[in-house]
């Protein structure tokens, strides 16, 4: 291509070009390392001096002109971007995203609250021996209190271990409280632990009962733990979980592994005690079983109940999720129904 030909083409091309990429291509085509004009400029040194004098200034001038044209075009493109009007009411592109089960959402939040309160998360098995699920929690065999926990037993499964602790039949834990015993057997106070997990009850399934659900056990033991401290932790937890406005109420109850035993109610987070269908117009919701750790439980794990005190409470997590997310039926949790899960 001669200088003339370049002259004819390059400015037309620059004029027609529509974007930066095209413009860059034009620059490379003519001024790049192997560009057409660059080739000509490179070849000058092989030409006789006469021709060099003739062509040289022309070529250099053209180079400058092209550079100026490129700059001008660039300025033009910057200042006159080519935009088509868009319909912003068109739907956004769907980026596929999965959903966590509402229970996981709740569990994460609860774990975070307790971690901030200095509690360590401990996990334990779902299959337990009678000893850990009942005896060591001061619920001896043949005690009527065992009727409070309808139990799934494993078939032909008596533990064969010699140690007393593993004697008796295997069962699916009916509560997360056995973790108290496991933990205290292997640790010394002071400590604060929480333990979330699946529990099982032999029950008829309906909108508020399932045979499989989750509990969270909370246990704090130290030399000087008092009832006032117990109330503090319970209140802190529920206020962080629901709202600062939440109130808690304690009333007498009975669980063999605590003394005194209490039932904890919280002020209804939906109506704030104005009365609604959730709290059946009472303003309160029953939410946890709790109490000061029974001295007999400490004795089972070889603590001296004279020198250590503690409190424990257990909450049903599905129940909390139902309250928090306005879920009417506990059976939805285990349904695996994506119409339910995709809402979270």
């Amino acid at each position: 291509m001669s200088i003339e030909e370049i002259k004819q083409n390059v400015f037309k091309e620059i004029g027609n070009c529509k974007n930066f990429q095209e413009l860059e291509n034009i620059r490379v085509k003519y001024l790049g390392r192997k560009g057409k004009l660059t080739e000509i400029l490179k070849s000058l040194k092989d030409l006789p001096i006469e021709e060099r004098k003739k062509i040289g200034p022309n070529a250099n001038q053209l180079k400058n002109q092209i550079q100026v044209a490129l700059e001008e075009k660039k300025d033009f493109l910057i200042n006159n971007p080519e935009v088509k009007p868009l319909d912003f009411t068109l739907p956004g592109k769907k980026i596929p995203q999965g959903h966590l089960h509402p229970f996981t959402l709740l569990e994460k939040q609860i774990e975070e609250i307790f971690t901030n309160l200095g509690f360590e998360i401990i996990e334990s098995n779902e299959i337990e021996t009678e000893y850990y699920n009942f005896d060591a929690l001061n619920i001896p065999a043949d005690h009527p209190a065992r009727d409070m926990w309808d139990t799934f037993w494993l078939k032909n499964s008596s533990a064969k271990n010699d140690s007393l602790k593993n004697q008796g039949k295997y069962l699916l834990r009916t509560h997360t409280s056995p973790v108290q015993i496991h933990y205290m057997e292997t640790h010394q106070p002071p400590f604060r632990i929480v333990s979330p997990g699946k529990v099982y009850r032999y029950e008829a399934i309906d909108a508020s009962h399932d045979i499989q659900f989750h509990q969270l056990e909370c246990l704090m033991v130290d030399e000087n733990i008092s009832f006032t401290n117990f109330k503090f932790i319970v209140l802190s937890f529920f206020q962080q979980l629901f709202s600062k406005k939440t109130e808690v109420s304690f009333r007498p109850s009975y669980f063999p592994f605590v003394e005194p035993g209490v039932e904890i109610d919280i002020s209804c987070p939906r109506c704030h005690q104005k009365g609604c269908s959730l709290c059946k117009n009472t303003g309160w919701l029953e939410i946890a079983g709790a109490g000061m750790v029974h001295p007999k439980v400490f004795e089972w794990v070889n603590y001296n109940p004279k020198f250590v005190k503690g409190f424990a409470f257990g909450i049903g997590l599905e129940r909390i999720a139902m309250i928090k997310y306005n879920i009417p039926d506990i059976r939805l949790f285990n349904s695996g129904d994506l119409r339910f899960i995709k809402q979270f």
């Binding site: 998360i121 996990e123 032909n156 503090f232 695996g336």
Partner: protein, 678 residues
């Protein structure tokens, strides 16, 4: 347990209205489940804890509790019995307890000349209000007494007992072949685990549970023997479970009543029979009480209490509370109280029990709220929980939804998956056949969930993290696993297989457990050539594949379903904790494209192996960007196109270097795979 408001009011003249009463009871004593108005009375349904049956399962006991918590006076019922002067009970009946551990106390009276007839209306109403059926004046008198004192009683027809002048009641274990026909005409087989009350020949009653037909009170009965006894709780509970009979009496006995209750209740029942049936009460009580319990004295230290409560409660309040509860202060110092515990309060055994009495009377809700003092250690994270949460977060980022499901499977499920029930844990008392075994794999239920959801969605991606269970020699084994399932209604969609593979690769990479390998496996669950185990550092961490249509059809699942199951603990162990930074490349990369034509059954992994072996030094990465079958290609051939990325850490590559390397790669592909270069 049902309590009549009107009845309570007889002993508590200042009783507030029922709704107010229920409120105070709930705050300070017991859960009141229901308050309902029936026939001019109000019935309180109270959920009595098992350890308070001894003192509060009768109206009088509950009235005492109410008197204490409301601080209102209690008016005890007054009654007088007239004993016969000449006729002595012990001249007519002998009572023997065979084993003093089985029967802690047996108190008895004999009443002659009773006239059996229907009870007066006031009595019928009382019983009815508390859910007890009226039978006749004698039986009703015993039941009324139970509802008043909490102590169950029984009446035998004296004349129906074996023997002539002197008859006997024996409290003994049944023999293995004995039977009894109960009052409601049920024949019950007895054995040595069941305690009975017998005469010289026949069982007359299942002790503490149910009376028998033989000595039943009927309209002709004239003489009766009244029983007010205390039986060993465990024995009653076991027998009641075994013979499957639960009564108001057995419920009370198995919850441990105080033996101190028997005599008062016995006298009251005799009094009622005297009034209602004109009975003549014989002289003396026959009272067999082999192991008389002694007075229970407990110490209460104020300092210990203040420490336990976490604040100070006025001493006067504490003393008054104990007094209201009838805990007699037998000694008092500046620091301690010594209290005699009423015998019916079997729940009071130690300091904490006393502390509970004070705290609940004080009202839990007025107790201050104080933060615990002491060193707060930062709570360490639970690595396992964190790891599982990380998996969940990654998977939802990849568009997979999390589900929860039951841990149970059925026998049919095991058969479908051809899993031998031998190693699977079975429940002794499943709720139904569908929930009879503990899941040995998460895939079974995931398959069901997938099928269910395809009724509403065209394609689904779900995962589930849960435990699987297996029998093991020492103790049952449980293991955290992750299962993922992909399914869609477009049955031609083979890409799903690679989508799940991609999900697994992404997941493991983000868990710092990258470069997992996939090795084909044969499994009856999966379609041939569509199943692989997942391997990292020579450890198998799981498997994935496409379920056979035969298997998925068993779950009404008629679309392809690709599943994976991974062992979370193994994954956790293999995942590196830290990221490692590699220096950014200093020298430019050179990219060459390579398109080859190979036989259709040549595997990508074979091609990669050959390429990498041909150029171990400067080949940095290989990227498959096109795969093409059919079309204009020769039969049984496929076309594959790769970007080969060359890069060196110490110099800029020259085109000769790269060219040489590419030639070597091409020649090896030609010779080893008969590849044609396109």
């Amino acid at each position: 347990m049902k309590f009549s408001y009107n009845w309570l009011k007889e002993y508590l003249k200042d009783l507030p209205p029922a709704s107010k009463l229920a409120e105070v009871l709930i705050t300070k004593s017991f859960e009141v489940e229901k308050v309902e108005k029936i026939n001019g009375d109000t019935i309180l349904n109270i959920n009595l804890p098992p350890n308070r049956f001894s003192d509060s399962s009768g109206h009088l006991g509950l009235a005492k509790e109410i008197s204490a918590i409301l601080n209102i006076p209690l008016y005890l019922p007054s009654f007088k019995i007239k004993e016969e002067k000449k006729l002595k009970a012990s001249d007519f009946i002998k009572i023997k307890i065979q084993n003093k551990n089985d029967c802690l106390r047996y108190s008895s009276r004999v009443v002659f000349d009773v006239k059996v007839k229907p009870s007066p209306n006031w009595l019928k109403k009382r019983l009815e209000a508390c859910g007890v059926q009226s039978i006749n004046n004698i039986v009703d008198a015993t039941n009324y007494t139970m509802l008043l004192f909490g102590q169950p009683l029984h009446a035998f027809d004296y004349d129906k007992l074996t023997g002539n002048k002197i008859k006997a009641l024996i409290i003994r274990r049944a023999q293995n072949n004995e039977t009894i026909t109960t009052l409601d005409d049920k024949l019950v087989n007895l054995d040595e685990n069941v305690l009975i009350v017998s005469d010289l020949k026949y069982p007359l009653a299942i002790a503490g549970i149910k009376g028998g037909k033989i000595a039943e009170i009927d309209e002709n009965t004239q003489k009766i023997v009244l029983e007010s006894a205390n039986f060993y709780p465990t024995l009653i509970r076991r027998a009641s479970k075994k013979i499957k009979i639960t009564t108001d009496a057995s419920l009370r006995f198995e919850r441990h009543l105080s033996p101190a209750l028997t005599v008062n209740a016995l006298n009251y029942a005799a009094y009622l029979i005297q009034e209602l049936a004109n009975g003549k009460i014989l002289k003396d009580i026959i009272d067999i009480y082999p192991l008389k319990s002694s007075k229970k004295i407990l110490g209460f230290n104020f300092n210990q209490f203040n420490k336990f409560a976490g604040f100070v409660i006025n001493k006067k309040f504490i003393e008054n509370s104990f007094k209201k509860l009838n805990f007699k202060i037998v000694k008092k110092t500046n620091s301690d109280l010594f209290l005699e515990i009423p015998p019916e309060r079997i729940d009071i055994e130690r300091f904490e029990d006393l502390a509970e009495e004070i705290l609940r009377l004080y009202d839990y809700n007025t107790i201050p709220i104080i933060a615990p003092v002491g060193l707060i250690k930062p709570a360490p994270f639970n690595e396992n929980v964190v790891f599982r949460n990380k998996i969940k977060s990654i998977l939802i980022g990849l568009g997979v939804d999390e589900i929860y499901n039951y841990s149970f499977v059925s026998k049919k499920d095991l058969d479908n998956f051809n899993i031998s029930p031998k190693n699977v844990i079975e429940l002794e008392n499943p709720i139904s056949e569908d929930f009879a075994f503990l899941q040995p794999t998460l895939l079974i239920n995931l398959c069901k969930m997938s099928a269910n959801n395809l009724r509403f969605y065209n394609d689904i991606k779900i995962f589930h993290i849960s435990k699987t269970f297996q029998k093991a020699p020492i103790k049952p084994y449980e293991e955290w696993r992750l299962a993922i399932a992909l399914s869609c209604k477009d049955s031609r969609n083979d890409l799903m297989f690679f989508e799940l593979k991609g999900i697994i690769e992404q997941l493991t990479e983000q868990l710092n457990c990258a470069d997992v390998e996939f090795k084909e496996i044969k499994s009856e669950w999966f379609i041939k050539h569509r199943a692989a185990k997942i391997i990292k550092d020579e450890t198998e961490i799981g498997y994935f594949g496409q379920l056979t249509p035969k298997l998925s059809d068993l779950y009404n699942h008629n679309y392809p379903i690709i599943v994976a199951e991974l062992d979370i603990e193994k994954l956790y162990k293999l995942s590196k904790e830290e990221y490692e930074f590699l220096p950014l490349p200093k020298y430019p990369a050179v990219i060459r494209d390579l398109s080859i034509l190979v036989d259709i059954d040549v595997k990508m992994s074979d091609i990669l192996n050959i390429i990498y072996q041909s150029e171990p030094k400067i080949l940095f990465d290989i990227d498959l960007f096109d795969l093409y079958e059919n079309g204009n290609l020769p039969e049984n051939k496929k076309s594959m196109s790769f970007h080969l990325i060359f890069q060196s850490g110490n110099h800029t590559l020259t085109s000769e270097e790269v060219g040489k390397s590419l030639e070597k790669i091409i020649s090896n592909l030609k010779s080893k795979l008969k590849a044609e270069i396109r």
